[in-house]
């Protein structure tokens, strides 16, 4: 399209009004008993403001539901750390949300499971913990297995569908068959093998976490063999790391299109990592209603449509398909969130991705000056370098 020949009235950004915020992710706390090196919570989460109160969350749930949200995920941190979780789930259920609990299982006692069932919780997604620390006892079926077994039994005994989520990375990808076998043994309906995406803590630890091409290909082969072996018994979803792609993902299905994240302090975000975009002031549910946040706020309109795009995205035939990829990834790897996501091989900065991929092919033993893994904890979160 020749933009110069287009009448000015047509150049104006014609944004189709977005649909409702179908997905509400309620990050009720950043507190977490775990210290996962791939956590997507902000690396400076220690500096976050006070958590929303029960009353605040109840209001957010009502406003979001009125605006058309149907899926509600209770996440964190570890959401079970909040002792008002049952109250929030009950209200979400009463309002007609489909309610999902995204948990590590730590803190899910029989009493709390029963209370959550009574509150109307629809589904539990159980995630594996930090497998770097527990790889050994995980593989030897000791401590971790016992916790997961207990939690899985609780989930089953309350008749919840169970999705098991395991973040896959360089340090555990070679054990994917054992992970799948364990998921089957635990009775999970779905298993998400989600390759780590390189945001926040995972970005700090990227060189430790990005698998080699050989590891990745082997893991896909093993996964396919397991799919055949287990058939309908379990549905396995394998998400490849986008660093190995040539075209970027349509991140969050579009900015401010489907997803609304509310962080523990009440900041409303179009995705769970968008807070890193320091140039945008994100609204707070403390002083703006959900509908206004979604439809009116400057932040949620910032990257809607395509008028913000630069080349090569602006003139790309695929711009509708992937919307230029991920704004956070563009910022992290190119310094400007409005650039093309450098996963795209049309990006002039694509080498930032291929360099990381090239480094991932070097065996661990042959690497020099390796920085230690940075664990997600309060102490590290307060370090000025992060």
């Amino acid at each position: 399209m020749n933009a110069n020949a287009t009448p000015i009235t047509n150049v104006a950004n014609t944004v189709t009004p977005p649909g409702p915020p179908l997905w509400l992710l309620a990050e009720v706390t950043y507190k977490c008993p775990l210290h996962c090196v791939f956590c997507y919570n902000p690396v400076d989460y220690a500096q976050t403001g006070p958590e929303l109160s029960t009353e605040d969350w109840l209001r957010v749930l009502r406003e979001a539901r009125a605006a058309g949200s149907v899926q509600c995920g209770f996440s964190g941190g570890e959401p079970l750390v909040r002792d008002d979780l049952e109250i929030l789930v009950a209200e979400a259920h009463r309002l007609g949300f489909y309610t999902n609990l995204l948990t590590s299982g730590v803190g899910l006692t029989e009493a709390r499971a029963a209370a959550l069932k009574q509150a109307g919780l629809d589904h539990v997604q159980l995630s594996f913990q930090d497998s770097t620390k527990e790889l050994n006892d995980f593989l030897s079926h000791t401590k971790t297995f016992d916790l997961k077994r207990r939690t899985a039994d609780l989930i089953k005994s309350h008749d919840w569908p169970m999705v098991l989520n395991c973040v896959i990375h360089r340090l555990n990808i070679d054990y994917i068959e054992q992970i799948i076998d364990l998921a089957v043994e635990l009775g999970a309906e779905y298993l998400e093998l989600a390759n780590s995406q390189y945001y926040s803590w995972a970005e700090l630890n990227r060189d430790h976490l990005l698998p080699s091409r050989e590891q990745l290909e082997r893991a896909e082969r093993v996964t396919n063999a397991c799919r055949e072996k287990y058939g309908d018994k379990i549905r396995i979803i394998f998400v490849v790391p986008d660093y190995y792609e040539k075209r970027p993902k349509k991140c969050m299905n579009g900015w401010g299109n489907v997803f609304l994240t509310v962080t523990p302090d009440g900041t409303a975000l179009p995705c769970h990592t968008a807070k890193m975009l320091k140039g945008i002031t994100f609204p707070s549910v403390r002083n703006m209603g959900v509908s206004d946040i979604w439809y009116q706020s400057k932040a949620f309109n910032f990257y809607r449509g395509d008028s913000w795009m630069k080349d090569p995205c602006r003139t790309c035939h695929d711009k509708e398909k992937d919307l230029g990829g991920c704004r956070c990834q563009a910022l992290m790897l190119t310094g400007d969130a409005a650039n093309a996501d450098p996963v795209c091989d049309k990006s002039p900065m694509h080498h930032r991705v291929t360099e990381a991929v090239a480094y991932a092919q070097i065996p661990d033993g042959q690497r020099e000056n390796v920085k230690p893994l940075v664990f997600r904890d309060l102490k590290n979160s307060r370090l000025p370098m992060l």
Binding site: L22, H123, V258
Partner: protein, 102 residues
């Protein structure tokens, strides 16, 4: 989050028994969404938005009503005839997607 797929149906999985009484599968929650003006199926972390006729069929499945009765009810309500093939086609898709149990 998808709309109902239009698929070519193979015979061996086709729903044919008019006396069967389908119900919405346990994993799914069916509800009317005012904002979307449509019936939706909700499941762990996902949603299927049903089109008009799919919603009319799904919202009448209770595990006690036979497909035969369902067809008669729909034909009466919409003052038409010959809905049997469409209803059976849809139920075949819905069964294959795991949305309904027979």
């Amino acid at each position: 989050m998808s709309t109902v797929p239009v698929a070519q149906l193979s015979d061996e999985q086709a729903v044919q028994d008019l006396q069967a009484c389908p119900r919405v599968a346990k994993m799914f929650k069916l509800q009317w969404e005012e904002v979307q003006q449509s019936w939706v199926l909700l499941y762990p972390e996902g949603m299927v938005k049903l089109n008009g006729s799919a919603g009319e069929i799904m919202s009448r499945l209770d595990g006690n009503t036979s497909i035969q009765t369902l067809i008669s009810t729909l034909e009466q309500q919409f003052e038409t005839t010959g809905l049997q093939a469409d209803v059976l086609d849809f139920l075949t898709i819905a069964k294959r997607q795991g949305w309904v149990k027979l």
